[in-house]
């Protein structure tokens, strides 16, 4: 009895000793990685990235943790596999030479199709896997993909029993095991043959879903025996340079501390309207119809940073670098000089050139390498095109929390669909995430178009509540000191001329 108690104690001690997979973001959503001596099924439709995940799991194991691996392939030819993953920088041939990697080629040989005439078991496969593990002292094993076994041997209960034997053998060696399996639909039964998920401890589903005409890759931990894990689908990308990268959205915590330090918006009158400038590491949304001056506001914001020798990053999704530079020049701001000084970096990208997740990673990459004090993203509307509302909101949450964590002051622009007044769909689901909102609107008075500006929201500060007219000239934006009160209903999109005489600049407290 005593020995049994000790045994239990020991096994508890070793209970779920997790190993880092090395796959970006996976440790976060799985609370530490994958457990040793346990098996995990990766189920996904064709082209969802199962093999890449499995392959990366072994490669990272070798490169980062010095843990040798065995790759049992049931489908793909080993030389094909080697070539396919070379672009990620995984040199399997080298790992083989270094004695860190062994293939077990369990693809069915078609040279001679085997006829099944009687009872059998998979002892030969087990023996081969065992020999490969012994040879490289493997700590990680991949079986890719076990569906072929079911297809070939046509006896699910026997394969289930035999796989169970193989898994028990591997578990005894405390090996981390990944099995992959194909599924036919993105939302349906977990695995094709309906038994795969029952033989493994953990189940992960990866999807490649068509959403609003765009592909979106997600990973979901469906079952993780004995461990907490994030639930729901997590976005991921397959980065051509680094492979799998999961973007954990659900685990973000709102722990950013907000700064009380003010920075200039680049426009003195706008600073005044905001109660003394923007807060550092706050997110400001500039919303307005096309041509109202959103790009001008961000250009001034960059100018303001440049005056203080701050580092500035401009992520442009609507206009080219040349266009932006020309526009800025028209308002007396020299982007070229700012770029030459090394303080400004303009990154102009087509929004359609990548998925939202890839854009996010790209922004993060630039922020982490360039380390800006200020960032401008022009425009959210361009990025939102072709993505679902939910996906976009998640993107914004991750982006804003990332920027705050890195203490970057950010200005996002958003194009409202109505020329005069009205809020767009974009605004409604962005507005809660941003700290401040500046509205730019057209207002028509007796056949003359006026441009007006209002600070709609300024989290944690007093701000001017009025609507002000502004002009644009070669010196940029000039906001009139007088409230634009000859009309009411501008924001609602139904302007009415009021009799009320124009009053002075009134700043009310929040």
């Amino acid at each position: 009895m005593k020995s049994k108690a000790t045994h239990i104690k020991n096994s508890n001690k070793n209970f779920l000793k997790k190993a880092e997979t090395g796959i970006k973001g996976f440790e976060e959503i799985s609370y530490g990685g994958l457990p040793r001596g346990r098996s995990t099924l990766i189920s996904g439709s064709s082209g969802s990235g199962k093999t890449i995940f499995a392959c990366q799991f072994l490669c990272e194991g070798i490169q980062r943790f010095n843990e040798p691996g065995v790759f049992v392939t049931f489908e793909e030819d080993t030389s094909d596999l080697k070539n396919n993953v070379k672009s990620f920088g995984w040199d399997i041939e080298k790992y083989e030479k270094d004695g860190m990697w062994r293939f077990v080629d369990a693809s069915i040989p078609f040279v001679a199709e085997t006829e099944i005439i009687g009872d059998y078991d998979l002892a030969a496969l087990l023996s081969r896997i065992g020999a490969a593990i012994k040879e490289v002292k493997a700590k990680r094993v991949v079986l890719d993909s076990i569906g072929s076994l079911f297809q070939y041997f046509k006896d699910p209960s026997l394969i289930r029993r035999e796989l169970f034997k193989i898994l028990s053998f591997l578990k005894k060696k405390n090996i981390i095991i990944i099995l992959t399996s194909e599924r036919l639909e993105e939302y349906g039964s977990v695995s094709r043959f309906g038994v795969e998920e029952y033989i493994t401890d953990n189940v992960i589903i990866i999807r490649n879903v068509l959403e609003e005409e765009k592909r979106r890759r997600t990973l979901e931990i469906l079952k993780y025996r004995g461990s907490l894990h994030s639930t729901g689908e997590q976005s991921f990308v397959i980065n051509p340079e680094t492979g799998f990268q999961i973007i954990p959205l659900n685990r973000l915590k709102l722990t950013q501390k907000s700064s009380a330090v003010r920075v200039t918006s680049g426009n003195r009158q706008l600073d005044d309207m905001c109660g003394g400038g923007f807060f550092r590491d706050s997110i400001v949304l500039v919303s307005g119809a096309t041509g109202t001056g959103k790009t001008l506001v961000v250009t001034e914001f960059l100018k303001g940073g440049y005056m203080n020798k701050e580092r500035l990053l401009f992520m442009a999704y609507e206009e080219s670098r040349e266009q932006l530079t020309r526009n800025a020049g028209g308002w007396g701001v020299d982007f070229e000089e700012m770029e030459n000084s090394g303080l400004l970096k303009i990154e102009a990208t087509y929004p359609e050139s990548a998925t939202l997740e890839e854009h996010l990673l790209n922004i993060e990459k630039h922020v982490l390498t360039f380390r800006p004090d200020r960032i401008v993203l022009d425009s959210l509307t361009a990025l939102e095109r072709g993505t679902s509302k939910k996906n976009f909101r998640e993107f914004l949450i991750v982006l804003t929390s990332f920027l705050k964590k890195n203490e970057v002051t950010a200005v996002f622009t958003s194009t409202s669909t109505n020329i005069v007044g009205g809020t767009s769909v974009t605004d409604s689901h962005i507005s809660t995430i941003t700290d401040s909102i500046i509205l730019l609107r057209y207002a028509e008075v007796y056949g003359v178009i006026h441009r007006v500006i209002a600070v709609l929201k300024m989290r944690g500060s007093i701000h001017a509540k009025g609507i002000y007219e502004f002009d644009i000239d070669e010196n940029g934006m000039t906001i009139s000191g007088k409230q634009f009160s000859s009309m009411s209903g501008i924001l609602g999109g139904m302007p009415l001329v009021t009799d009320r005489s124009e009053t002075g600049n009134t700043t009310e407290s929040n």
Binding site: V111, E115, G118, R128
Partner: protein, 97 residues
Amino acid sequence: MSKVEFEIFVTGPQHRYTNSIEVFRKICISTLGETGFEIRVIDVTRDPEYTELKKILAVPTIIRLKPSPEKRVLGDTRSEEKARLAFQVLMDGSTKY
């Protein structure tokens, strides 16, 4: 005339398949004659390298190596009926029979 060559992949130190091999051998003798064939038995646990080379997944697998092309059957041949079936499948397509 060259001999028919067989390889039988089995497992286990307990000679689990000794009987099956003997039943198959008897069928071979009765059809090909004592000297008309050769059987090589490979224990997959003792020779995983060769098992790997021949890409054997399951046991018992019988391969007819020669005459080429190679032919394979999978399954226990402990009954005479199964052994005969295995033999027929393996020799089917060979010009000799």
